[in-house]
């Protein structure tokens, strides 16, 4: 068994071992005596039975002694439960919302995530509820489970002593994809957690931090202005001439490979009009940051996957809508935008609609208004998303093809 990383769960494990020891002992004793007596007093060995109507002493013994033992079992069970339930003061509170069939975690400051990222050694309190039916938040590695109930807030807490990743499962039957409602609890060092908490939605600010952290902004401007080196924004697709060390010159189109070469081996191709004075950043920038910076320079946009994709993951859309055309529990996002759909309105009448931006947006905010024929009306309302978030999701859906129909 791997080391238990949550102190209260260690108490639970100890209670379990205590109970198991006595339980197995009782089973072995009863079974052994039963089998032994059956053999020793078989009628071929013991033709005359001896009448023994009872024994008050024995009855008292095996009533009182087991009572004392099970009361101890109750006690260890209860104290370990209390340890799991007693939230320390000052714990960071994370909201948990369970729904068919995904989890949404909301952090102080409003960041939402589909995974539960927490700092190592930090007390975390979960304030949990459900959007639809009863689910149950279960982390087997931490011996932690608590139902999430619509209309109620239930709580749980933990503190993880070392980095690691743990499965979060749903433990209350909730329908079709109850077995697939799995996400991850990720304990990371505190500094990494702080960065994670601050990042990703402020992607541009993050990119700015990277260029500043690695010293690029000492010579390059991020907003189109001139400096010792070329400006770095919106470079993707731009053409220009570069001079080679052997005196030759070449026409290049700026792409990811060129930018990578420019950062790791800047002397190999000098942009025309600039001095050859940029140092190499070989082995100085982690790959993830390198990719983020390259992406920013190409698109001038966020340093991450298409913006709507992260939001779609965080809100759990992907647990019901695939991106590859397959059907999970709702229409696939692939080739959805601009397609023609048969939908049923609330009176039961059937209409044909084009899945344009307006339709997609309404499907997110009020999915029950028009239900695609053949689908069950189980999609929850996402009416708490603001207009910008809805637009981002719609843009993401459009990016999955075939496009078109982007009417206002």
């Amino acid at each position: 068994m791997t080391e238990q990383l949550f102190s209260a769960a260690s108490e639970v494990d100890r209670a379990f071992l205590f109970i198991l020891a006595f339980a197995v002992g009782a089973l072995v004793l009863v079974t052994a005596l039963m089998l032994y007596f059956s053999w020793r007093y078989h009628h071929t060995r013991n033709p005359e039975a001896v009448e023994i109507p009872g024994s008050l002493g024995l009855e008292l013994l095996w009533t009182i002694l087991p009572t004392a033992i099970v009361m101890a079992m109750f006690w260890f069970g209860w104290t370990s439960f209390k340890a799991m339930r007693t939230v320390p003061e000052g714990a960071m509170e994370v909201g948990v919302e369970a729904r068919m069939w995904s989890w949404a975690f909301t952090y102080p400051g409003g960041r939402r995530s589909a995974e539960l990222v927490v700092p190592v050694g930090g007390d975390v309190k979960l304030a949990m509820t459900s959007r639809d039916v009863i689910h149950s938040f279960y982390v087997p590695a931490l011996r932690l489970k608590m139902d999430t109930v619509p209309g109620l807030t239930t709580t749980a807490w933990f503190n993880i002593a070392a980095p690691g990743e743990f499965d979060i499962l749903c433990a209350e039957y909730c329908g079709l994809k109850h077995a697939n409602m799995i996400t991850t609890l990720r304990a990371v060092p505190e500094e990494d957690f702080r960065q994670w908490l601050a990042g990703a939605d402020a992607a541009s600010a993050r990119a700015g931090e990277l260029f500043s952290a690695y010293g690029c902004t000492a010579c390059h401007d991020l907003g189109g202005g001139q400096g010792l080196g070329p400006p770095l924004d919106a470079l993707g697709g731009r053409t220009g001439d570069v001079l080679l060390p052997d005196g030759g010159r070449r026409r290049i189109t700026v792409d990811a490979d060129y930018l990578r070469r420019a950062m790791l081996d800047p002397g190999a191709e000098i942009a025309e009009g600039y001095e050859a004075m940029m140092p190499s950043y070989q082995d100085q920038i982690p790959e993830a940051d390198l990719e983020a910076m390259i992406r920013w320079m190409l698109t001038g946009d966020t340093a991450g996957p298409p913006p709507g994709r992260e939001l779609a993951e965080a809100e759990g859309c992907m647990s019901c809508h695939s991106t590859d055309g397959s059907s999970i529990a709702g229409p696939s996002f692939r080739d959805l935008a601009g397609s023609v759909r048969r939908v049923r309105d609330q009176s039961g009448a059937v209409h044909e609609v084009v899945a344009d931006d307006a339709y997609l947006g309404q499907s997110i905010l009020d999915p029950g208004a028009l239900v695609v024929e053949g689908e069950t009306p189980i999609m929850p309302e996402y009416d708490y998303l603001d207009a910008e978030q809805v637009a981002r999701l719609v843009e993401y859906i459009r990016s999955l093809g075939p496009g078109g129909g982007a009417q206002p």
């Binding site: 009855e59 590695a141 994809k177």
Partner: protein
């Protein structure tokens, strides 16, 4: 069933379907229940085998997720309401109780017939739930709200079936209580009652008092779905945890309805095959009452992580450990009866010893589940599935099989092959451990229940469990085939093939329709074997 070879003048004599369907003879009613129970048991077993076959590998194997969810719901509803709850009391309780009391029949024979008709009607309604509306329910047998309030499947019809079946149980309980109080033969004092009768008595009180709560809860579920009342569904202003309390106030005592009669069977069998009185008769009799009483106070141990208060958790955990003690004491008394006995290892005793082992295997994990801290981890995992199958199948199931091997020769007047019966028992014991022990292991490792799919690390345990299910199926097939053949065409038996001392063994096998030629006068206890011998 026994056709022309049945002894003339036995209760089998009257012929024709109507003489069975409209009978008021407790022995025939008991047999009608037995055949229905065994028939639905086979249906439930097939569902279980299909479930295990689906789970032999992760991902879809032989069915989709919706079908799987309906299958485990049906497996639970059929096994609990159509099989295990009526199993022993409605079958052997009906056949044997009046005989143990020296009575002609139960107190209300026509009500008894009506109770069977309610069972048949409830069963038909449950079947209707399969084939009408939006298909069989997919909520699990516990019908938790809000899921059961919002699913479009046939919840209302299934709950109506449970409501009707509940009345069959209530009326049987009422009938037995009055019978035991009022129809004991002269000399048959309370302290001379068989322990099977004591067990039926305790069970009958639970049936009478607890089942109405389930009935009312079922009506509220239907009202919520059909009339859109907000009782349990929070979207309509209701309280989902209230549902859980109401459901479990019946369904926990229900498990004692399931196990107490089986314990009564064991208490009757062991003395006969050890040739001595039970050790601690009064303790065992009293423990049945204690279990019935204390077992009514522990229901919310199914709800430790439901969101109810910590105080409630503490109270229900404490009471749960209280109810463990009388069950343990029974086990100690049974084993003590073997001490210095003169043991005849006949099939009823083999099944009874199998019960003791398997019930203990299941009961001890009840201690883990009753302790609040450890329950938090094991609740809603395969640990629970293993626990209740050990105690219900390894317990009540084996108790039913023991009762069949003990009493069916009396009912049919013929004996089955005893060696084959013993082999079947051993195969079942091995198979049940193969099927259910891996569930303990994977439950502790975090495998939740009611999962159509699972993470790859649980594959080996699931494979082992599925293979175990095939061994159990083989054992059941062997057992039923042996009983079928033996009871129809095996060697005839006299009144007392086992040398037992309770009153049914003074009558011919099969007994006459009117039971006793003259009202017996009882002057000895049920386990007093002086001068009692098995037929040669």
């Amino acid at each position: 069933m026994n056709d022309a070879s049945a002894a003339p003048g036995s209760f089998w004599a009257a012929r024709g379907l109507a003489s069975w369907l409209f009978t008021t003879d407790h022995k025939r009613i008991g047999l009608l229940y037995l055949w229905c129970v065994l028939g639905f048991f086979i249906v439930g077993v097939v569902l279980g085998l299909l479930i295990r076959l689906e789970l032999i590998a992760p991902g879809p194997t032989i069915m989709g997720a919706q079908t799987y969810n309906a299958m485990f719901t049906l497996h639970g509803v059929i096994m609990i309401f159509l099989v295990v709850i009526p199993s022993i009391p409605a079958s052997f309780g009906n056949i044997i109780l009046p005989l143990h009391l020296g009575a002609e029949d139960v107190a209300f024979p026509r009500l008894n017939m009506f109770s069977w008709w309610l069972y048949a009607l409830g069963a038909a309604t449950a079947l209707a739930a399969l084939f009408t509306g939006d298909g069989p329910p997919d909520t699990g047998w516990t019908f938790y709200v809000p899921f059961s309030a919002v699913t479009s499947t046939n919840v209302s019809v299934a709950v109506a079936a449970v409501f009707i079946l509940g009345f069959s149980s209530i009326l049987t309980g009422l009938n037995f209580i009055v019978t035991i109080h009022r129809l004991r033969a002269p000399g048959l004092t309370w302290t001379r009652l068989s322990l099977f009768a004591w067990a039926l008595y305790a069970t009958a009180w639970i049936q009478l008092l607890a089942t109405p709560i389930l009935g009312i809860t079922g009506l509220l579920i239907i009202a919520e779905r059909v009339l859109d009342m907000g009782v349990f569904d929070p979207a309509r202003g209701g309280d989902p945890i209230l549902y859980q309390h109401l459901f479990w106030i019946y369904s926990h005592p229900a498990v004692y309805i399931m196990v107490l009669p089986a314990m009564g069977v064991i208490s009757d069998i062991i003395p006969v095959f050890a040739r001595k009185a039970i050790f601690g008769y009064k303790t065992i009799a009293f423990s049945s009452l204690a279990i019935a009483f204390a077992g009514s106070l522990v229901w919310a141990h199914h709800m430790f992580v439901s969101g109810m208060s910590d105080t409630a958790v503490m109270v229900f955990s404490l009471l749960t450990f209280v109810v463990a003690i009388p069950s343990a004491v029974k086990v100690f008394n049974w084993v003590s009866t073997l001490y210095k006995g003169s043991i005849h290892m006949e099939p009823p005793l083999v099944f009874a010893l199998g019960f003791i082992f398997l019930f203990t295997m299941g009961g001890i994990t009840g201690l883990v589940l009753g302790a609040a801290g450890t329950d938090m981890h094991t609740h809603d995992t395969y640990f629970v599935v293993g626990h209740f199958h050990y105690v219900i199948f390894g317990g009540t199931g084996m108790g039913l099989f023991a009762a069949m091997h003990y009493w069916l020769p009396k009912v049919h007047g013929r004996m089955y092959n005893k060696r084959v019966a013993t082999w079947a028992a051993l195969i079942l014991i091995v198979g049940m451990n193969g099927l259910y022990f891996p569930m303990y292991v994977m439950g502790l490792a975090g495998m939740p229940r009611r999962y159509y799919d699972y993470l790859p690390q649980y594959t080996a345990m699931h494979e082992a469990s599925t293979v175990g299910s095939w061994v159990v199926a083989a054992g059941l097939a062997l057992m039923f085939a042996n009983l079928w053949r033996g009871l129809r065409s095996g060697p005839r038996v006299g009144p007392n093939p086992w040398g037992a001392a309770t009153l049914e063994w003074t009558l011919p096998s099969p007994p006459p329709a009117h039971n006793f030629p003259a009202e017996p006068v009882v002057d000895r206890g049920p386990y007093d074997f002086r001068g009692v011998r098995a037929d040669d």
